[in-house]
Symmetry: none
Subunit: 421 residues, 2 copies
């Protein structure tokens, strides 16, 4: 069964307001195995809605329309749907009575315009709305189903659940959708795809077929796996196998097969080992500490952070010698290493991180363009092999560079901690 | 000119991910007077995209398509658009060279699949992408314009601005939409509305009518003013008058009439006065420092930050006496004040901030529930009136509480600095 969703309302075509009803509708339909192929938003305009619905009927079995069922002139969904389906609109007097009773219960008389809400395309099933005046409608036509629900989420949600339970679930078939998110760091989208794509065909053709979407955002890559199955356990097992296969292909670059973020993975590694971390940040200005402490319970392993923006504060709070900065520049591997050593010297920690770089937009040079960052990790207990330093060169604006800097630092910690068990 | 937007990507048809690119595209097109009539989302599916585009061409003059321009097999936008418009796809070797150079600059080889990104429907104009490998495309056909932009927002945004400036602006009509965002801190949405709503009617009925939307998000209130006018100066003057009226009604609670964020306003106040700030954070874990240093040029006024999560690190790095913590608890006004004094003692700064609170989900008590936060601001040069401390109680999850903590701290600094000139 192919489904699409149409949200009606001119306010959903402004820069401020996104259509969020469709997310819940997607979730509920996916749960009964119905994927969404197309979503659309249209203003309070009969012609546009007729055009969209007419086209949707050519490619989908189920069309869910939300909004435009109010009593006013700009609520055009009933008329547009009737026209698109070639149906006459009748006034259903039982609905009129129900709306009148609703008004009466609040001591009010029903305004005449509310009669519009009792218009029903001939042959449609009326769906009760316990939380408002606008009833929903379900229309079957040539094997297609069109469901009309009101726009306000608190009215729509219960009616959606009821129509799925009573009308759609039985037709949806036994197959459902199950999702898993895998996260990758340290490769580009194309290099991730190169490694994983050869497995797509096998995943898609197994007993539980799995489809894959690859997504890049803010210096991280995500693989979204979707399994279609009647049996939840079989779906979980197939997703486990695909995740294990991806892990084998991507190795340590795949850091999460259960949707956890990098800071959560690092946090768990540290927590399990009873290791405490401290961070010394220049260009990231507290973002690394903030990301680490986004995680509930991070006080168990985050000991301390220092934001040292100026050379003076690098000297005063981290003991970075001004001669070192003079010799190598503030953005250099020796200074990053000295920052990491500095945070280790001032707190009893197992891991210290130093980050110094150029986040932009200013401050870049030919040698060290915007996006250059040096990251050092110091592990005081490892003796002579206690320090690792790397230089990265990221592209993008200030926010994107800072975000990638933080990922790179978290990832260096993650790999080293895993390596040493 | 009628416009519609099509977002391409199967991830946008999941319950987790809404299409947000279209909000920015709507804003920018509205600014040049082009309204949006329909928005759609389609998966990585050629047939569905062809079907949507074919229909869009029957009712709109401008179709903006985002996403599906990546290098992989599931990036189908180029092929679908070429088919829908009946155009042949050629490989543009200049684009291949540009992508190769982009990979080479990061020391990488271009994977072969990236050649797909150099496919250009014959006759299309190539739109450069300074932030990624996927170029955009603009195609004119029978008086219709189809614009293809990449999906990642940081790539899309600059390209959108360029194509509007260079290609679309001249064809749009004379009437444009002009927007202004006013930002408010320290009041609820309803209290903001109460103060401002009496002015709405006057704003809406002036020679340049202004409509108002009020929006609450993450502990901040925004007023969005929209003016429709052919004359930019008249619109600006009308928006100025409305902003001044709102300022009179909201006083210091209105901190920005030009869209600047709180950290930018605080940064400018500090920069103008040559004052330097340092922050000592517990529950916010670096988020205040990170927000301050989000602003380009913040190194001019941000001196130092300390994240002191544990009691030991509050003692060691900020000199907060353990007796003080034992007597009042780590989340208390005396400890916040001692943290602010501690950061002032260790760095030469004009303003020190201390934040200690309970971000949750754990750690709350009957007396100090999750969301309790104590914020202290110390200004060493003000002698006996050097310290201010306040306790707030915010509601929401961990991220929302931390965000409100940071707003509260920034706002205390802002008001005090304005007060003392």
């Amino acid at each position: 069964m192919r489904a699409e969703i149409i949200a009606v309302g001119s306010e959903l075509l402004t820069p401020e307001k996104a259509d969020t009803n469709s997310l819940l509708i997607t979730e509920r339909l996916n749960e009964i195995g119905i994927p969404i192929h197309v979503k659309a938003v249209v203003g309070d305009d009969r012609a546009d809605l007729e055009s969209l619905l007419t086209q949707a009927l050519t490619r989908s079995d189920l069309i869910v329309i939300t909004g435009g069922l109010g009593p006013t002139d700009d609520d055009v969904t009933r008329e547009a749907v009737a026209t698109a389906l070639g149906l006459v609109l009748d006034i259903d007097e039982r609905i009129v009575e129900r709306i009148q009773a609703r008004f009466a219960s609040r001591g009010l008389r029903m305004p005449d315009i509310n009669r519009r809400q009792a218009q029903v395309p001939r042959g449609a099933t009326v769906l009760e709305n316990p939380n408002g005046t606008a009833p929903g409608l379900l229309i079957e036509r040539d094997g297609r189903i069109v469901v009309l629900l009101p726009g306000p989420p608190r009215e729509m949600q219960g009616m959606l659940d009821a129509v799925i339970r009573d009308r759609l679930s039985a037709r949806a078939g036994a197959v459902r959708l199950f999702r898993r998110t895998l996260r990758v760091v340290g490769r580009t989208e194309s290099h991730t795809e190169e490694a994983v794509a050869p497995a797509y065909a096998a995943w898609a053709s197994g007993p539980v077929p799995i489809s894959t979407t690859i997504l890049a955002s803010y210096g991280q890559i995500e693989l979204h796996l979707t399994a279609r199955a009647a049996d939840a356990d079989a779906a979980a097992a197939a997703l486990d196998r695909a995740a294990a296969d991806a892990q084998a292909r991507l190795g340590l670059d795949l850091y999460s097969t259960d949707g956890r973020l990098l800071e959560e993975v690092v946090g768990q590694l540290l927590g399990e080992r009873g290791q405490r971390i401290g961070v010394a940040e220049s260009c990231t200005g507290g973002l690394l500490a903030s990301r680490l402490t986004d995680v509930p319970g991070s006080s168990d392993y985050v000991e301390q952070g220092v934001v040292a923006y100026s050379n003076e504060s690098k000297a005063a709070s981290l003991g970075v010698a001004s001669e070192l900065i003079a010799a190598h520049g503030a953005v250099s591997e020796p200074v990053a290493a000295a920052m990491a050593a500095g945070i280790c010297a001032r707190a009893r920690i197992d891991i210290g991180v130093g980050i110094t770089g150029i986040a932009g937009p200013g401050g870049g040079t030919g040698n060290k363009p915007v996006g250059t960052v040096c990251v050092a990790v110091e592990r005081p207990r490892l003796g002579s092999a206690r320090t690792r330093v790397r230089t990265f060169r990221f592209v993008g604006g200030r926010a994107l560079v800072r975000s990638q800097d933080v990922h790179a630092a978290l990832d260096m910690v993650r790999r080293w901690v895993i390596e040493t068990g």
